[in-house]
Amino acid sequence: MNIVGKSRNLAARIARTSSFRLTILAVLSAMVVGAFIIILSDVDKLKSGDIVGAIQTVGSAYWALVIGSVGSLRAISATINSATPLILCGVSVAIAFKAGLFNIGATGQMLAGGMTSLWVGFSMNGPGIIQVPLAILAGAIGGAVFGAIPGILKARTGAHEVITTIMLNNMAAFMVLWLLKTNLFQRAERTDPISKVVTASGHLPRLFGFISDRPDLIAHAGFVVAILAVIIYWWFLQRTTAGFEFRSLGLNADASQYAGMHIKRLTVMAMMFAGAFAGLAGAAEVLGTYGYASQNFAGNIGFDAIAIALLGRSTPLGTLFAALLFGALQAGGRQMQANTDVPIDLIVVLRALIVMFIAAPLLIKAIWRIKVAPSSTGQTFRGWGS
């Protein structure tokens, strides 16, 4: 690369990279398609010929999306809150991708980690400075143990992680449902599957706790954990031998084996790390957002994380930004649903379209008539194993 032309200004440099432009154009394209979907689904207005009214709905919906995600401190806090588990699960999927593994099991690992950290959360009673880190650690361990299962199965028997993680997700869901009905976890005097409440000292502190009288600022210290996780992920990939081996395994398993790397050990390790990050997401949700566990506290986060890792091309920074974008959409979507009659499900469509457009640079090129360097998204799937 031409050193003279390289700007010292980081922002300008990022803005000139094709992947950044591609992302912006992909988001724009998705919004345009989304606008058409909003207009065309406005059956009553279209029937009465009120096309202007239908178009106005698009404006107010998208405005609510912006206001609800970054328009106020409260909105930013909501965005951060939504992004926290997405970042952690995104890193979980990303680290597995780097090692050539497809972790569909973030949901199950999140459930496992959430339950173990919940157990520490309600059975200890302070001091917070010990209890909170312990509970978070418990979440990471729970997720890691659960994540190790598909890793061990893959290493020992070759069972493909796509199947085993799907199966383990389903099993984890039933396991949680059962646990929530046991005396150990179930809240006293309740018959429905809902857990005991995390003790006051076990809650993750609120991020904006220093501002008084603002209980609506829901973001919590799980975000700090998530940022640390991204840094650790970066450090691990770039600065450790194992990280190098992960990347090597992901690029070419045969060459890595020939170079003397322990493929089986790396496989188990990668899934364990992936599980640990997803487990942290579970801990953050249980200790920070809810303060207890209900049947499906993991929601769809594990699946959203796949889109996030793909969007961020599994790089630490890319995953972080993708998760923040998805978190913003989530927070803004709630505002949109409240302000207009456009349901929040629109953001799932937008996310899918963004991923689709990102994945096909040629398509963006054709639509916007621009030159984009053919930045490949990389092959994530390396066959069903042999």
Partner: protein, 413 residues
């Protein structure tokens, strides 16, 4: 084992030996479970086979006998092995164990065994058709992670069009939706050469988001677009008079018959037609097939689109085959189960059919088991099929090998 199925390797590899040992150990394990655990409940279990006839199995003696037989089979397998008959013996042993389990669960009561078999077949329809769609794509070298999205989109289209224009048009619309979503997969994966797993996942999200969005924006305010009369079961003449099996297999909706026919056609054409040979070739080694004059791109397009139509029928099963309406995320992960069935069934239609029936049985057992008081939490019963799949995939299928070129875009140069 080679996925092309034309190469027969007579030598017994270390892999096969290990598998053979695992099968033997499983027999012994199942034998011990039935001897110790299933023999623990006295009483008779009634398997209602016909309206007028209930087959009574005394739970305890049956479990003990089962234990002896299974352990003997295990010993025979470990010492000598059943060779080509291993899978048959395994199937029979597993089926007996399931009956033993049901006898244990139902001891002191009775339940409709025939009804359960019928439910099994009914519930496996979307999994069978989804798996066939997956096989068609993957055998041609295109990974189809989007089965879930295709089923869901098709279910929505089937419900809405079916409500307005009647069930047959609903099925057509569902097929069209399946083909449309397949077309997205095909264009992105084959033409734009995008990573197929990424496109597949994006299609899943797209279908989930769009159908949920439209369901809550349009269908809640216009319930008349979301109500139809599902197909009634049709009893096939003569065949439906066979006791038990007649009800289970031949008193079903058209969807079930279509699913069985689809499995038959897929099996026959994959292995006995020019199309099948070419399809398998472009999934294994597209360059060679291309050199010999097969139009790889065109054939991939065609197969992916056909797969969409098949998955479309599978999606239409929800509104038109059973529920009579569409609900948000009505497929609830069945597409991923179908994907598991593809791999579990080793990319073969018949294998996928068996896998789908196992999952169907699990769902049917959920429905029946809630009526029986077994003393073990229902969650563990619900978990069982996934655990079994995990064990089977890990122990028996072992290093299952998919089509070699699956996931790789084809470059004619």
């Amino acid at each position: 084992m080679s996925a092309v199925d034309t190469v027969v390797v007579p030598l017994i590899s270390a892999e096969q030996k290990k598998r053979s040992r695992n099968v033997g150990l499983t027999f012994v394990f199942l034998g011990i479970v039935s001897g110790v655990f299933l023999a623990g409940r006295p009483g008779d279990a009634g398997f209602k086979l016909l309206d007028s006839f209930t087959f009574v199995i005394p739970s305890q003696p049956f479990a003990r006998a089962l234990a002896v037989v299974l352990i003997a089979l295990g010993a025979a397998q470990l010492v000598k092995g059943f060779g080509d008959w291993t899978n048959v013996v395994l199937g029979i042993a597993t089926a007996s164990f399931v009956i033993g389990f049901l006898a244990w669960a139902a001891s002191g009561g009775s339940f409709s065994f025939t009804g359960m078999l019928q439910d099994t077949v009914t519930r496996s329809v979307p999994i069978i058709l989804g798996a066939i769609a997956g096989i068609l794509c993957e055998r041609s070298g295109v990974i189809n992670i989007a089965i879930e999205g295709q089923l869901l989109g098709a279910a929505f289209a089937g419900a809405v069009v079916g409500s307005i224009l009647g069930p047959w048009m609903g099925i057509l619309a569902a097929m069209a939706m399946g083909v449309a979503l397949s077309a997205i997969l095909a264009v992105f994966a084959i033409k734009y050469r995008v990573d197929q797993v990424i496109v597949g996942f994006a299609i899943n999200f797209f279908a989930l988001g769009l159908t949920s969005f439209l369901a809550s924006r349009v269908l809640t305010t216009h319930p008349e677009y979301n109500i139809l009369t599902p197909f009634k079961p049709i009893a096939l003449p003569l065949l439906s008079d066979i006791p038990v099996l007649g009800v289970a297999l031949f008193t079903q909706t058209l969807f079930v018959y279509f699913a069985f026919i689809a499995v038959g056609i897929a099996t026959w054409s994959l292995y006995h037609t020019k199309w099948g040979l070419r399809t398998r070739a472009i999934g294994e080694y597209p360059k060679a097939a291309g050199t010999l004059g097969v139009d790889v791109i065109k054939l991939r397009y065609r197969n992916v689109l056909i797969a969409g139509a098949v998955a479309g029928v599978g999606g239409a099963w929800w509104p038109i085959g059973i529920v009579g309406r569409f609900d948000q995320n009505i497929t609830n992960g069945r597409g991923f189960i179908a994907l598991a069935a593809v791999i579990f069934g080793r990319w073969k239609p018949l294998g996928a059919l068996s896998a789908a029936l196992v999952f169907g049985l699990a769902e049917a057992m959920q429905l029946k088991m809630s009526n029986l008081n077994t003393g073990i939490p229902s969650e563990f019963l619900l978990m069982a099929p996934y655990l079994v799949t995990l064990i089977v995939v890990a122990g028996f299928v072992g290093r299952s090998r998919g089509p070699k070129a699956a996931g790789q875009p084809y470059d004619a140069q």
